[in-house]
């Protein structure tokens, strides 16, 4: 009883001292709660469907950020991982009769393999060359998909996959919990030593190599990790839509991921996730004017970029929080002095 009380008091203290002092952390907490408790308020199947797809794409956008935002290896062919994940899961499910909990992780392994295959030639390229070369890979795979319709289903794709689970509600909980878990893992990765090396590779690769770190290995690791998470989201997409088609490999798919990530703010993980949760339901909302839907999407992205080229969420965060000039700890913008070192904030 005493031990329980101790932990409860500790939890309360952390909540009060670390979470409630910063608006961004409060918002993240509220986001977790809202997403998890939403079915208690409404179980509208259409709303749940949108949120399931949003969660799947949130994993995808965050995985792009892990590779391209943190390591600076701009990947314009992220649809490759998504498509490989989706197709591998679909083939395993249809031919080997694996249930979703087996085919999705194996599909992700397929995407890791794809990450290795494209990572090795891409290690010698940098910057714009890399971006434009990676764009080529999903298109090459799409050509192969179309050329062998007997295996891949060609233009129609592979359909008739087994469902994620029995009901829409359990589908929702599976995807949302997986999304929250994976995003937290990605955020932890970027916060670890490996993540710091990823940061350093983006800032100055030569200096990292001079410090005795094998950058090649870390860049390959970034490709594989990103491929793994993107592959999982591809597998979930295939099993939720119950079809794996060539649309998962399209150029538009790759570009959409990049738009989400940059719109939300790269090198943050929370930015791309937030961007998907803003833009994807917004796009669904615009379905009342189907012919203006993509136009509005494009215009919103253009306008946001003009005023906040670093992305929406870092911009918002800078509005509500300031960084202490002395100890670099973040404070709520209303404070006059830093909450840790009491240096004046201005």
């Amino acid at each position: 009883m005493g031990l329980l009380g101790f932990y409860l008091r500790k939890l309360f203290n952390i909540l009060k001292g670390e979470v409630l002092v910063l608006p961004s952390r409060v918002i993240v907490g509220i986001f977790f709660l809202v997403v998890l408790l939403l079915p208690a308020v409404t179980q509208d199947p259409y709303l749940l469907r949108i949120l399931i797809l949003t969660s799947i794409f949130a994993i995808l956008a965050a995985s792009w950020d892990l590779l391209s935002g943190f390591t600076g290896q701009i990947n314009f062919g992220h649809a490759l991982f998504f498509g490989v994940g989706a197709y591998t899961a679909a083939l395993l499910n249809l031919h080997a009769k694996l249930p979703p909990w087996g085919s999705i992780p194996l599909g992700a392994m397929g995407a890791v393999l794809a990450g290795l295959i494209i990572g090795i030639p891409c290690l010698r390229l940098r910057g714009t060359y890399l971006a434009l070369t990676t764009l080529a890979f999903p298109i090459i795979l799409m050509g192969i998909v179309f050329a062998f319709p007997s295996i891949t289903g060609g233009e129609l794709g592979l359909s008739g996959l087994s469902r994620l689970s029995g009901s829409r509600l359990s589908d929702y909980y599976i995807t949302v919990v997986v999304m929250l878990g994976l995003v937290t893992i990605m955020w932890k990765i970027t916060d670890s030593n490996t993540g710091i090396i990823f940061h350093a590779i983006r800032e100055d690769e030569v200096a990292v190599r001079a410090a005795g770190i094998n950058t090649t290995r870390y860049k390959l690791l970034a490709f594989c990790l990103s491929g793994f998470f993107a592959g999982i989201s591809g597998g979930f997409y295939a099993h939720f839509m119950r079809i794996a088609g060539p649309s998962t490999l399209e150029v538009t798919m790759s570009f959409t991921v990049v738009i989400w990530a940059i719109f939300g703010g790269i090198v943050t993980i929370y930015g791309p996730v937030g961007a998907v949760f803003v833009l994807f339901p917004l796009l669904e909302f615009f379905r009342f004017w189907p012919e203006y839907r993509m136009l509005m999407f494009a215009v919103i992205v253009l306008l946001i970029l003009l005023y906040m080229p670093d992305g929406l969420f870092p911009w918002l965060r800078d509005k509500v929080e300031t960084e202490c000039p002395r100890c670099k700890i973040r404070n709520i913008a209303t404070r006059k002095t830093c909450r840790i070192c009491t240096a004046p904030l201005d």
Partner: protein, 294 residues
Amino acid sequence: MRRGTMLLDILISGLISGSIYALLAISFSLIYGIARIVNLAHTAFYMVASYCIYLGIYKLHMHPVWGMLLSVIIVTLFGLISYKLFMDPIREHEAAVLIGTIALAMAMQEIMLLIFTGDYLSVPALIDGYFKIFSVKVFYQQLLTFVVALSILAALWVLLIKTRLGLAIRSTAEDREVANLMGMDESRVTMITMGISVALAALTGAVIAPLTTLSPFMWTHPLIMVLAVVVLGGMGSIKGSFVGAYILGFAEAIVVFVAPMGAYLKGSVALSIMILVLLIRPEGLFGVVFEEER
């Protein structure tokens, strides 16, 4: 004789798509070289130009030549305005430029979709008729497209090498700051280059319009090929873009005519060639390796 006609078919189709890719890739390289802007909306301007010609011929009942001129002027103005509004303010943020231009291209695609719907449209040829070599039909329009593309390329070469403006463009591409110190107005040179670049894209749209069907999605395939050409030849290298364009143009043509399921695989094969070349020469065929900026 089948093999002979196939060779000729490959030659004609390779030369035409090669010239088109060369025009697009060189104009794309120009603006990249000067302003470091990766303009992914480049081929969208080409799509808009083709639609302007359609509009000029069928709605305003103009002669096709006047229609082409009008479309080039309109698209150039439109390109300059969109540069001023959407690209110039975010030029320093490389990632923002990438998605800004994609969003711009998507906006243009959607606007065209609203005005003209998604139906396939076609534009009449300037000169009808064809002649035969070894029982292969060569349309006069194909010949005209090829000749016009080559003469535009020649004119561009003269502009870049022989004129003072060309000198300013080349020196700005080499070193922006020093060019500025030598008294060249860097932002004006960039504006002019953007104008030239968009005008070239529009001209390409004008010469290719009679040979293809118009659709709002006609910009994606050329965009991918242009990116492949530019990477293959070396970013910012005009000679590289020229050579790369013909390599990929012919590769596409050979795959389409020789391989079964060729129409599906043409993009894949061309892009695989690009990746193979990059494995051997990461800076492209004619690219220069710069000492890494730190």
